[in-house]
Amino acid sequence: MANPLLEIQGLKTFFFTRKGIVKAVDGVDLSLNEGETLGLVGESGCGKSMTALSIMRLVPEPIGRIVEGSINFEGRDIVKMTESEMRKIRGNRISMVFQEPMTSLNPVFKVGFQIAEAIQLHQEVPAKGAWERSIEMLRLVGIPSPESRVNEYPHQMSGGMRQRVMIAMALSCRPKLMIADEPTTALDVTIQAQILDLINRLKEKVGSSILLITHNLGVVAEVAQYVGVMYAGHIVEYSDVIRLFKNPKHPYTVGLFQSIPKKRGSGQRERLQVIPGLVPDLLELPMGCKFQDRCSQVFKKCKNEPPPFVEIEPGHQVRCWLYE
């Protein structure tokens, strides 16, 4: 088995605020092989976006910092790279699509210019050639009449179109890894489906691997082959998507699946299931398992020692004292 494209071990990204240390990412291990799609699921504030930003080394400094761990990409540790080495990778070998298409593009430049910029930063291409490539990228992401749309400004496009432009920018240099941080959250449902379908097709065409971050399990089911469930800075369960959906083990994952509103069948309406309580304040984390206050199956050991991340069957890992 070839080396994984991306291998993260023991990643810890902390924020040093006046009120204390916020452990946004508190020991994350994950790996991604070439051609795979990994979905990272979790609620707001669980650390999934910070994990992505850590990979890109875009963690806001000096308040935030990667304090520990390694991020191996194509055999090199990203954590140890200099800023100028990192700039050669961003947009080129690893690229990122952000959540908010309405504000992610510079309002004063045409979209063609912005895609061309991504190309020209990393490749020796004359301006005209880069412009031609922009048009090709727009065509690739399914924007009709790319020759004229390339001259438009972001405010002249809808949200779905802007997101396609973002994807075009991200794929313009044929990156090995594309990180999509909630790419469809800000879009309406029909456009969501289109964008996800686009991402799937482009993955094959461009040959990228994808790290997809979302809070929506439905999106994960559509796109991902492997899934990591995050909670309060940890990955609490990791498995391939089919097994996770069929047989979730961690109480949090189980709770997530239960809280999806179900289709109304012929029977009576059921009450919506919720996971009681709130995500813990990252400044005041409990001792032991971070999920203890909301867990239906909590027992004494959970309150004293944090559970390790163990493999309960090949390719399926859980962080829970129920499975030791």
Binding site: M56, L58, S84, R87, K88, I89, R90, G91, N92, S95, M96, F98, E100, T103, S104, L105, N106, P107, V108, F109, E117, A118, L121, H122, S145, S148, E152, Y153, P154, H155, Q156, M166, M169
Partner: protein, 286 residues
């Protein structure tokens, strides 16, 4: 097929601007002054420095369309040539202030921390001086004359520009598209010049025109005090100053240049207001 209803920001700006009559008037005044300054030698009926003592303090009419000053020099010609000093000081001083203000404001806003503190406190010192005092201090140090007046006014204007640019940079820096630019591998230099600058240039343009109006007033004040443009070069401020002694006997000598100053300042202000109205709302819509 291209959608006709969607236009570029430039077209939207002109459309809005041209509908604002006052703004167009201001624009017209400024352009008019520019033409007068450039074509002064063709427009002025006489040499502005030519004295004709038998004609001193001549009333308007006849040989001297707007009258003559205390040395018999044609006031109309002096007003026309005076446009040069006014516009020169007004625009060049602001250009200097804009350049230095951009450097200081961008450095301050982008890098923050100690650098920001240091720059802002130095600018605070400059701001603490009343503008005339500052200009007088500079001119006393480097001497009078049109070039030094320009420098003095420029120095005075720097803190204003630096502040608004700094504020803009701080706001823009937080925008999603700046993070997007970093994510495609842009360096700090590229981000500052290609992404941040084009986004704050609009309020700065507005500010520039309004500051030009002030600059012209300060030049007039300095010349009035004898510290600016030196005679015999015509300057409206100088003309008002020397006309002071004759306010009762020949009021036109001081009043007419005063009106010229007023129209110029009005023109720049109307233009600046018009630019602000046409540029700002569009930015808000984005």
């Amino acid at each position: 097929m291209k959608n006709q209803a969607l236009s570029s920001p430039m077209q939207e700006f002109w459309g809005h601007f041209l509908r604002n009559r006052l703004a167009v008037a201001g624009f017209g005044i400024v352009i008019g002054l520019l033409i007068v300054a450039l074509l002064a030698s063709f427009l002025a009926p006489q040499d502005p420095t030519l004295q004709s003592l038998p004609d001193k303090r001549a009333k308007p009419g006849g040989k001297f369309i707007l009258g003559a000053d205390e040395f018999g020099r044609d006031i109309l010609s002096r007003l026309i040539y005076g446009t040069r000093a006014a516009l020169l000081v007004g625009t060049v001083s602001i250009a200097i202030a804009l350049l230095l203000g951009m450097i200081l404001g961008t450095t301050s806003g982008f890098f923050g921390g100690m650098v920001d503190n240091l720059i802002m406190r130095i600018l605070d010192i400059l701001l603490a001086f009343p503008y005339l005092l500052l200009a007088i201090a500079v001119v006393s140090a480097i001497g009078p004359g049109i070039l030094n007046t320009t420098i003095a006014v420029g120095i005075w204007a720097i803190p204003g520009f630096a502040r608004i640019i700094r504020a803009s940079v701080i706001t823009i820096k937080k925008a999603d598209y700046i993070q997007g630019a970093r994510a495609i591998g842009a360096s700090n230099t590229r981000i500052i010049f290609s992404h941040i600058l084009p986004n704050f240039i609009s309020p700065v343009i507005v500010y520039s025109t309004l500051y030009m109006a002030n600059a012209i007033l300060i030049e007039a004040a300095l010349s009035f005090l004898g510290l600016g443009v030196q005679p015999p070069t015509p300057s409206w401020g100088l003309m008002v100053s020397s006309g002071r002694d004759f306010l009762l006997s020949a009021p036109h000598i001081a009043t007419l240049p005063g009106i010229a100053i007023m129209i110029t300042v009005l023109g720049f202000n109307l233009l600046g207001d018009g630019l602000r109205d046409s540029l700002d709302p569009k930015l808000r819509n984005l």
